[in-house]
């Protein structure tokens, strides 16, 4: 890539000469994000920034790429000397001359090597376009030798794009991205099965209040207190009117199962959101600050990993007898979010933090808040979604486990139904076990968790770019 022919670098040079250093640094940062191994970009960047340490760093990067570039060497020596005092304005006034008219250096890289470098740089282009959610669009770079253009229009974003247009652009981009991800998601039929299962349970959750208010008389079908005088004895196998029979207290099993769907959803979704939020915050903090912060967070996560969540939930349930599904979900999410989720997500976030575009963002002057919210969090978001789905499964099993002891005040739960069948359902009696209670409850349990698990597998394909066909 000949720098004299690259319009972006030329434009940046002109911006610097015009005194628009900030704009030039942003432009160069974008360019470096796409082509991290371009020495000229690093070199020109050293003119765009005022801080001495940063200048030295940037020049060293340029020298790493091509140690033979004598322009860079000379400038580095000059800046490193103690006599050099950089002040932004003075430099702009007194050094109009040495700002490079980027000339192709004589000691050029061998073509084969350059090819390698370019090849190494391309994956970053891909990750950047998949990662920076609506942050920036890649610069229009013309790598081929194009006819020499002498004048360039410097975009003034504030004037050209109004806020409405920006929102529109972002909406379009995210809509297209959603469409693409959906296409990948749909490729695996198991994920579709998962979605269907979740939709089915959502339907059940909605159906219960409707049925209670229209078809089912409350006295007979109430999930907690219902009793049917016309059926004897209880528990009864399926009879007309009670599709799944009744339990030992004379309650309709179908009604109980439907009523248990909503609390289960609440537990699962609360746990998922808590896990995702805590895991994201901790892992991103660890990955950004690294060093001591990272050590502390990792070790804390290891400690949290040791906590046996169901047992702790049983203890808490014994203490606060009025625990609803919301609190249980919150608690489960806290323990797993700070434990396993943080460990998994931190591994990913650290990898992302080491990528060149993060460095570019640093050099362009992005503060911690900007980098974390605009670069790190969008990159770990798919993984967070995956962890959410897994947390749903875990939370539902743990919830069933503790309602299995009748510790919570949840009116009924699939775990409770199984427990009731074990305890009161005359399980080893002469009539045989109450299959009409056991099988539907156990099946609901498996299928609900399975639905979320299958969706998480589909999301995994979306989250890991290496599994995609288009890379």
């Amino acid at each position: 890539m000949d720098p004299t022919l690259n319009p972006t670098l030329k434009q940046a040079t002109e911006l610097i000469q015009a005194g628009e250093r900030h704009q030039a640094s942003v432009l160069l940062a974008r360019f470096i994000k796409a082509y991290p191994l371009n020495e000229h970009a690093w070199h020109i960047l050293s003119y765009a920034i005022g801080d001495k340490d940063r200048q030295i760093y940037v020049l060293k990067r340029a020298l790493q790429i091509n140690p033979t570039n004598r322009h860079v060497k000379a400038r580095l020596e000059k800046i490193s000397s103690p006599a050099y005092k950089p002040t932004l304005k003075r430099e702009a006034e007194t050094h109009p001359g040495p700002i490079p008219q980027p000339v192709a250096p004589k000691a050029e890289l061998r073509p084969s090597m350059q090819g390698n470098l370019l090849k190494a740089a391309t994956p970053d282009l891909g990750s950047q376009s998949s990662v920076g959610a609506g942050a920036v669009s890649p610069p229009s770079i013309v790598p081929k030798p194009a006819p020499r253009i002498t004048t360039y229009e410097i975009p003034k974003p504030a004037k050209v794009y109004g806020p409405w247009q920006q929102i529109k652009t972002r909406a379009t981009i995210s809509w297209q991205r959603t469409k693409m991800n959906w296409g990948i998601f749909v490729q695996s039929p198991l994920a579709i099965i998962g979605l269907i299962l979740i939709a089915f349970f959502a339907l059940l959750a909605v159906a219960h209040p409707i049925l209670m208010n229209t078809v089912w008389p409350r006295g007979i079908y109430d999930p907690a207190t219902g009793f049917d005088m016309m059926v004897f004895p209880h528990p009864s196998p399926p009879v007309p009117g009670h599709i799944l029979g009744t339990d030992s207290l004379g309650r309709d099993v179908l009604s109980m199962i439907l009523a248990a769907t909503t609390p289960t959803f609440i537990v699962g979704i609360t746990a998922a959101l808590t896990t995702a939020i805590i895991g994201t915050i901790l892992s991103v903090t660890a990955a950004y600050f690294q060093g001591k912060v990272d050590t502390i967070i990792t070790n804390m996560a290891d400690v949290f990993l040791l906590f046996p969540a169901p047992i702790i939930m049983v203890i808490i349930g014994a203490r606060f007898r009025d625990l609803g599904p919301l609190q249980l979900g919150l608690f489960y999410g806290l323990v797993t979010g700070a434990g396993a989720t943080t460990i998994v997500m931190r591994a990913q976030a650290i990898q992302i933090a080491a990528k060149p575009f993060m460095e570019a963002a640093h050099i362009a002057g992005g503060g911690p808040w900007h980098i974390i919210t605009k670069h790190l969090i969008p990159s770990v978001m798919p993984l967070a979604a995956l962890q959410m789905m897994i947390a749903v499964t875990g939370a539902v099993v743990a919830d069933g486990f503790i309602s299995f002891f009748g510790i919570t005040r949840t009116v009924s739960n699939w775990g409770t139904i199984i427990y009731d069948a074990f305890i009161y359902g005359n399980i080893s009696g002469s009539y045989g076990p109450p299959w009409h209670m056991l099988i539907p409850a156990a099946a609901c349990f498996s299928l609900f968790a399975l639905g979320f698990y299958l969706v998480s597998r589909g999301l995994h394909r979306v989250a890991s770019p290496s599994l995609r066909e288009d890379y």
Binding site: L306, F307, Y419, A442
Partner: protein, 395 residues
């Protein structure tokens, strides 16, 4: 590597300390009532106070904590509130747990690896989809229900205990052993169980090494099923050598239900991780190269794909290890298996805090040791990982 291990060990001890201290305060503050309340039906307030003073339960919690710390630092686990030395109790209980969960983890791991490998290799064939769906359904099954189903189907419900109905109060025992066999045997069943674990571990290690040597020598991977058979035969053979075959088989007759439950519940997870890991590996170019070289499929699968796919599985195993230990409680209590889980659960139910805390301590130690071992295994499998060297930022 040594430096890394020493550092990790020290860190592990600190982590263990934090964990155990938190659990101490958490359980004691959170649980309503205490040990005396569980037994004081016919006891007035004065009598309760006397009992509390006898057991040292009237001290403020931080004093109890310091006492307990002093005990465990001198490696003395003390006496449970029921009056039995805790070390003795744990000696009786740990082998049973190891028998089910070490064996179960290894078998589930192998099954999961094999299935994951096969299903990923065959892609979207109907059979592999069915296997995936089946494994995941089992993975998300409600554990007590699966235990009950197995017990019901194979023993007509004998030996099933509903959790929460606390079984053995003080002394757990292997319920249902054949009296005729054990009549003139002086050794405790738990000792036999421990020997069974030991023989299995030794055989597995020995035959694994043999397999490695043979593979190196013949330069192709030999079928694993033969080696599994050899391990099995070796273990059973060593039982005959130690002259405990009848006793061991009798224990196995009881052990297989928790073992089977555990395997069915957990192999799905390994399978799933192996699948996704294989998916990623098979997209890489060296697999294409290996195929293009004309290597047979089995070699590409075993040597090129599966080996590289193994790493994420192992690192994931590290994370799910503590969950396995939670599973111990659920599965053991449902089958009345006299292991650590049942013991801890019963102790928690009766609020026998010294026993609960020391069992948790052992659980923590075991899982951290397993973690360190897995670290070593990972370093052995992956030449790219070098612990202990400071990683330079990739400039």
């Amino acid at each position: 590597m040594t430096r890394y291990l020493i550092r990790q060990t020290l860190l592990s001890i600190i982590k263990l300390f934090v964990f155990i201290s938190f659990m101490f305060f958490f359980i004691q503050i959170m649980m309503p009532g205490d040990f005396i309340d569980q037994y004081s039906l016919f006891c007035n307030a004065e009598c309760r106070e006397n009992l509390r003073a006898q057991l040292g339960l009237d001290l403020p919690i931080w004093q109890r904590y310091l006492q307990w710390l002093r005990q465990i630092i001198t490696l003395d686990l003390g006496i449970s509130l029921h009056g039995e030395p805790i070390i003795q109790t744990l000696k009786l209980v740990i082998p049973a747990t190891l028998l089910v969960f070490v064996t179960g983890t290894i078998i589930a791991f192998l099954i999961g690896l094999w299935l994951g490998k096969r299903t990923a290799w065959q892609g979207s064939a109907l059979l592999s989809r069915t296997a995936t769906l089946g494994g995941l359904t089992l993975y998300t099954t409600f554990p007590p229900w699966l235990t009950w189903l197995l017990t019901y189907l194979f023993t007509k419900g004998a030996g099933f205990v509903v959790m929460g109905e606390v079984g053995g109060l003080v002394q757990l025992a292997f319920v249902g052993l054949d009296r005729h066999i054990w009549a003139d045997v002086e050794i405790d069943p738990s000792v036999i169980a421990f020997r069974m674990v030991l023989t299995l571990a030794v055989c597995a290690l020995f035959f694994y090494l043999v397999k490695n040597v043979v593979d190196e020598f013949t330069r192709r991977s030999s079928p694993g099923i033969i080696f599994l058979g050899l391990i099995l035969a070796g273990t059973v053979g060593s039982w005959y050598l130690l002259d405990m075959q009848m006793l061991a088989f009798d224990i196995m007759k009881l052990a297989w239900i928790p073992l089977a439950t555990y395997i069915l519940l957990t192999f799905g997870e390994t399978m799933m991780i192996m699948q996704s890991s294989m998916d990623e590996v098979m997209k890489s170019e060296y697999i294409t190269t290996a195929k293009a070289k004309g290597l047979p499929d089995s070699v590409v699968l075993e040597r090129h794909a599966a080996r590289n796919a193994l790493l994420p599985v192992i690192s994931r195993l590290v994370i799910s290890l503590p969950y396995l230990i939670t599973g111990v409680v659920i599965i053991e209590s449902s089958t009345d298996w006299p292991g650590m889980g049942t013991k801890m659960w019963n102790a928690l139910y009766w609020q026998d805090m010294p026993l609960v805390m020391n069992t948790l301590l052992i659980v923590g130690v075991l899982s951290l040791v397993a973690r360190l071992l897995l670290d070593v295994v990972t370093a052995y499998l992956d030449p790219r990982i070098r612990y202990g060297e400071r990683q330079t930022p990739s400039n």
